[in-house]
């Protein structure tokens, strides 16, 4: 079992002052899995992601990736171990073209760069950029400046940036937020496709997106793992219905 684990957290905790945003979370993720993480607002999902990707240092606990302890590594080193992520609020290189955005990530796979050689001569990087542009169907707008594109396209660019580094683990933080139902369905289809390339953890608010594509679902509530199981188990779980639907009622939706 342990050999198949890609990511594991043990007693992972993060306190902000007196508030336990993430509270002793034990989490295990198998290779090639597509895991959804759901939970009401403030359940600690994004904090959990921030801990894994090194944006925050945990107050306690450990993170193991491919059996190695990556706890406390700075985020750029975490990224180099093979973990890529997207953010809830779109984070791309707004002033660059779509191609240049993807390029930045594809170029990163090298360790050293010759400062006197034109970047455009890196044939392998160029090829990778074309592949990703094709995969995300961004070829037609490859030379548009990202800032001038729609929100939906910008979200796609961010996913493109994340996968261009060839990650083993992809953390997607609400990739459908702010998208129409139609666009969300497209993203869901894309995620389904991406799982052939890497293991994925998907934080999502929209239950229908999650239930269609995830292998397993982890429910966070108040910083803890509240429940975990197959999509069917989770949707029939009484406790989950209560906290999840309860919180939705409370937030007025």
């Amino acid at each position: 079992m342990a050999a198949d684990l890609l990511l594991e957290t043990r007693g992972l905790s993060k306190a902000f002052g007196g508030l336990m945003a993430v509270d002793r979370v034990d989490f295990a993720l198998a290779r090639e899995e597509l895991r959804a993480v759901i939970g009401p607002n403030g359940a600690g999902k994004t904090t959990f992601f921030n801990l894994i990707s090194g944006l925050l240092r945990p107050t306690a606990g450990h993170i193991l990736f491919r059996g190695e302890d990556i706890t406390g590594l700075p985020s750029h080193r975490v990224a180099r171990t093979g973990i890529a992520r997207t953010l809830q609020m779109t984070s791309i290189f707004a002033g660059m073209t779509v191609r240049e955005n993807i390029w930045m990530a594809a170029q990163r796979r090298r360790r050293f760069y010759n400062p006197l050689m034109p970047a455009s001569r890196m044939a392998d990087v160029r090829q990778r950029v074309d592949e990703v542009l094709g995969l995300l169907r961004l070829v037609d707008i490859a030379d548009e400046v990202a800032a001038n594109l729609s929100h939906g396209h910008q979200r796609l660019i961010e996913i493109g940036i994340a996968i261009s580094t060839n990650p083993q683990l992809l953390l997607l933080d609400e990739p459908t937020s702010g998208l129409s139902a139609e666009e969300s369905a497209e993203v869901a289809a894309l995620v389904k496709h991406l799982r052939r390339l890497c293991t994925i953890i998907l934080v999502e608010h929209k239950m229908d997106v999650v239930m269609g594509i995830a292998d397993r679902v982890t429910v966070f509530a108040e910083g803890r793992v509240f429940a975990e199981g197959s999509p069917e188990e989770i949707s029939n779980h009484r406790g989950v219905q209560e906290i999840y639907l309860g919180a939705r009622d409370a937030s007025g939706r």
């Binding site: 750029h76 180099r80 002033g95 990163r108 010759n114 050689m117 034109p118 970047a119 455009s120 400046v145």
Partner: protein, 326 residues
Amino acid sequence: MARPAPGGRLRAIQIAGGVVLLFLCAAPYLLGTYFRVFVTEMLIWGLFAMAFDIIYGYTGMLSFGQSTFFGAGAYAVGLTLVHAGSGVWLALGAALLVSLVLAAVIGYFAVKVSGHYFVIITVVFSLVFFRLTLQYKAVTGGDDGLSFQIPALNVGPLALSFYNPVVNYYFVFAVVLLSFLVCFLVMQSPWGRIFVSIRENEHRARLIGYNVERYKLLAFMLSGLFAGVAGALYALTFRYSNAALLHWTVSGQGVLWAIVGGAGTLVGPFLGTGLMVSFTDYIGFWFENYQILVGAVIILMVIVAPRGILGVLMGEGGKGGTSGGR
């Protein structure tokens, strides 16, 4: 990464650039003493503004501390000539080394912070070195400065004298051109792209896996190195160096020239330097309080043409959005 301008315009700009380059190649034979010295000085200050633009226009960090490296380059040349009795090549080497090491040390601390804190820390470092230079008058000459003789430059069998204005001009021109070409290559290379990505979104660059602090430091060192080269050329041309060269207002000049000319490019700072210094010289002749007009021009530029004169020429004008927030 400059966006390609609409075809015809780019062509026109390239042709204009070629004409200017040809002119610079022949300048000492076309110009009288006054304008020859003027062009020499423009090349030096243009290089200084270009060096600043590596850290600002490309990497997105506003430094008011580049005068420190300019002064360091100038003093490295002066002091090695005076005390070590060395030749010009060694003096130049000393200037490169001193400005690079100084940029590494200051940069090491400065890149740990960003935004306003970075601006402040560069000003503070710059003031410290300005004060030190004033203080150690015995070595630096302080306010009065340091004058020195320039020995002949040995190039193979030739011994070229810097007192010959034509030699002086071509030496400055060659070093500036070489510096420009090196910077051009670096900005086209993966490093240049990483610098721009840090300017565009440092958070994302880090999440991709770039060690953002390391590349900020590299940009800062490159910027400091070429500011030092400019300072060395200044010392060789004017055979003089003083504490005022290290004052942060000298950095401020470079900032203005780069922004007016077109930040985020290598040509823009030269253009800005040439135009702004000509303008200042011209109206300074007629109008005592010319600085008010200079200020007005800069405010106007920033409002109507945030991408500078080069931006206007390229047809990207004031309608922002193409190069994102800077």
